[in-house]
Amino acid sequence: MIEIKNLHATVDGKEILKGIDLTINPGEVHAIMGPNGSGKSTLSYVLAGRDGYEITEGSVSFFGKDLLEMEPEERAAAGLFLAFQYPVEIPGVANTTFLKSALNAIRKQRGEPELDAMQFLKLVREKTKALSMTDEMLKRAVNVGFSGGEKKRNETLQMAVLQPKFAILDETDSGLDIDALKIVAEGVNALRSPERSMLVITHYQRLLDYIVPDHVHVLAFGKIQRSGGKELALELEKNGYAEFGVNEAA
């Protein structure tokens, strides 16, 4: 599904990613763990196509296509989804308007018929219910006045509506209390399928109690330092990142 080869990226001339290799197959859930500043968010932004990141070496193939050549909206249409660590607030744009524009933009790019207002409302009502979201949250402006937990639920809702093939969850656990974490994790787990893959980026093991990964990778100093199964996360929880030369207390 996605094949990242020797990916190097710089921000403002500073090299952050120093040769990432990662292959994710359909149906797999991978977790990337690592200390702050290791390049986790940079990787997610590079994959989603944010401006300001210069790819200096390497390649990313997504369903056989060159992902790095695509605009952010083309990546979304191809099935890539980034659940943001810090979803932005957009005053003046109603959440439903935004969701409907996004869904229909993606359907249009894929050559599928757009949904009318009734069809859309039916779909979105169904999804919000599963995430314990209120109709009122749909009417409000995108993320405006949302708590941390509501923002993350909103990200999960978008994922549920857009049905991506590959979802990157960038520190979805940050800013969540345990109840919100459970709701979000359940929402994510409901989306697990043999055709869909996920890349869960997190600092702590906690989230992985709820979203159990097939593979865990440790990212530090811009490179994947070690890969293993879900037990690697437990080991990191116990020993921290010291063995990778990271002193988190500093």
């Binding site: 989603a48 196509g49 944010r50 401006d51 605009e71 952010p72 909206e73 990546r75 979304a76 249409a77 980034l82 943001f84 979803p87 932005v88 957009i90 005053p91 003046g92 744009v93 308007t97 935004f98 524009s101 996004a102 869904l103 933009a105 993606i106 790019q109 402006a141 978008q158 857009l162």
Partner: protein
């Protein structure tokens, strides 16, 4: 009415710039409507004399520092001829969702067009006339009010309008009457190819105590001839009356649009003004509202969207003359390419205007590196028990918001459009009338789609 006496010509006064207008006056004055009325002759002479003394405003005049009218000098505008008579309209602009016709007056190059106008749907006693007719049919009403609020003394363009005033809308709403139907005023600029054309529409709105009306002005252009519209509208809001006065200016980019709206609000009266500016090469909307009785309320808001080489100027003056009044101003603008915007917003709180509650916000979005805005908010407060706040910001589209939308599959142009619409919606929400708000929102959307 404020009166000032100038002892010498203002700074930057250029007699040559004023001369063509003054010469025209001598040629046309005897043919102007109501030329036999002595009070009107006196008013026009007063306008002429003030304009002769003041000349066209120049950038040396503080209130015209950011808007240069030099382009007008070279154009030698002539009064409108009858060329506009040949104009036919398929569809006149309206805010009516059903497209039906309601009360409306249509003016082409400043001249009334009866066959396109209608007073259907007005309650008994409400007068909606054009000024030329009103001078014969309601001379006392006009004489009582005209030239009382928009004083030509220190306003060169009001003086110019006063000298040439010939036609425009006159609305009289008697005491206690509510006009349910929205009154639409359509001003079409056509001009002629032979020469740049100037006209000076003069409007008069008189709302007696406890009356209510909603008025929408449409300013549109046909063709691409150079025109100058120099309009003045005077609004009298009686005690407890409310006037909702909306305007959209969508003239073409060879048009010059100068406008001065002056309102005087009696106790517990409400004057609500909103201006959406999209068109014209150069436009200036000046809105003055005097809160002249206790517990009056005025909203003076607007939005503008300009691109290419357009210049748009919004100059407001809110005068809290009496205690316990509220004022609210929300202006938002979007400026692209090399376009330029000016916002000048002055609020005065007079010494006895205690318990004043004033709010002013002015925000602009610059879409290109060459777009420009000059913003000058001014508060002058002479009372001590007041609440007055203002804020002015200038920004660009937020890259984070843009990326967020694109990461969800929305293409760049659509995402920009959504964000621009969202930015302006905060101002458009100031429009209390839903049909007007919807229509104005569609003009905003069309502007974006026209890119």
């Amino acid at each position: 009415m404020a009166t000032t006496t100038l002892t010498k010509a203002p700074r930057g006064y250029d007699p040559a710039a004023a001369k063509p207008f003054l010469e025209q006056f001598d040629r046309v004055k005897d043919g102007l409507p109501g030329a036999g009325l002595s009070w009107l002759n006196d008013l026009r002479s007063q306008g002429h004399d003030r304009f002769a003394a003041l000349g066209l405003p120049t950038v040396k005049n503080e209130s015209w520092r950011y808007t240069n009218l030099r382009a007008l000098d070279k154009l030698a505008f002539q009064p409108a001829t009858d060329a506009g008579e040949a104009v036919r309209f398929d569809v006149l602009p309206t805010v009516r969702a059903d497209g039906a016709t309601g009360p409306r007056l249509v003016f082409v190059d400043g001249r009334f067009r009866a066959e396109l106008s209608s007073t259907a749907g007005l309650p008994a006693g409400v007068e909606l006339l054009n000024l030329a007719d009103a001078l014969t049919r309601k001379p006392d009403l006009v004489a009582e009010h005209l030239g009382r609020i928009a004083a030509p003394d220190d306003q060169p363009l009001v003086a110019l309008n006063t000298a040439f005033l010939a036609d425009g809308p006159v609305l009289h709403v008697p005491r206690g009457v509510t006009v349910e139907e929205t009154i639409e005023l359509v001003f079409v600029s056509v001009g002629t190819e032979a020469q740049p054309t100037a006209f000076h529409p003069r409007g008069l709105i008189v709302a007696e105590a406890e009356s209510r009306a909603v008025i929408v002005e449409h300013h549109v252009g046909l063709g691409s001839c150079t025109t100058l519209s120099n309009g003045v509208t005077e609004v009298f809001v009686g005690a407890g009356a409310s006037i909702h006065h909306y305007k959209v200016q969508r003239e073409h980019t060879e048009a010059f649009h100068l406008s001065h709206t002056a309102a005087k609000v009696a106790g517990k009266g409400v004057y609500d003004n909103f201006i959406l500016t999209i068109g014209a090469k150069l436009s200036r909307n000046e809105v003055n509202s005097v809160l002249d009785g206790e517990e009056g309320d005025t909203h003076v808001s607007g939005a503008y969207m300009v691109r290419g080489g357009q210049h748009v100027d919004t100059t407001t003056f809110i005068d809290h003359a009496k205690p316990c009044c509220t004022s609210r101003e929300v202006y938002k603008g979007v400026i692209d390419d090399q376009a330029r915007a000016v916002f000048q917003g002055k609020i005065i709180v007079r010494p006895d205007a205690q318990k004043t509650d004033g709010y002013q916000q002015n925000r602009a979005l610059l879409l290109s590196d060459t777009a420009e805005i000059d913003a000058k908010p001014e508060l002058e407060i002479y009372a001590d028990d007041v609440k007055c706040s203002h804020g002015a910001t200038v920004g660009e589209l937020d890259d984070d918001q843009l990326f967020y939308l694109r990461a969800r599959g929305i293409d760049k142009d659509t995402a920009r459009g959504l964000l621009i619409g969202a930015f302006l919606s905060e101002a458009l929400e100031e429009i209390a009338e839903e049909s007007v708000r919807d229509a104005f929102q569609s003009y905003v959307a069309n502007w974006q789609n026209a890119r």
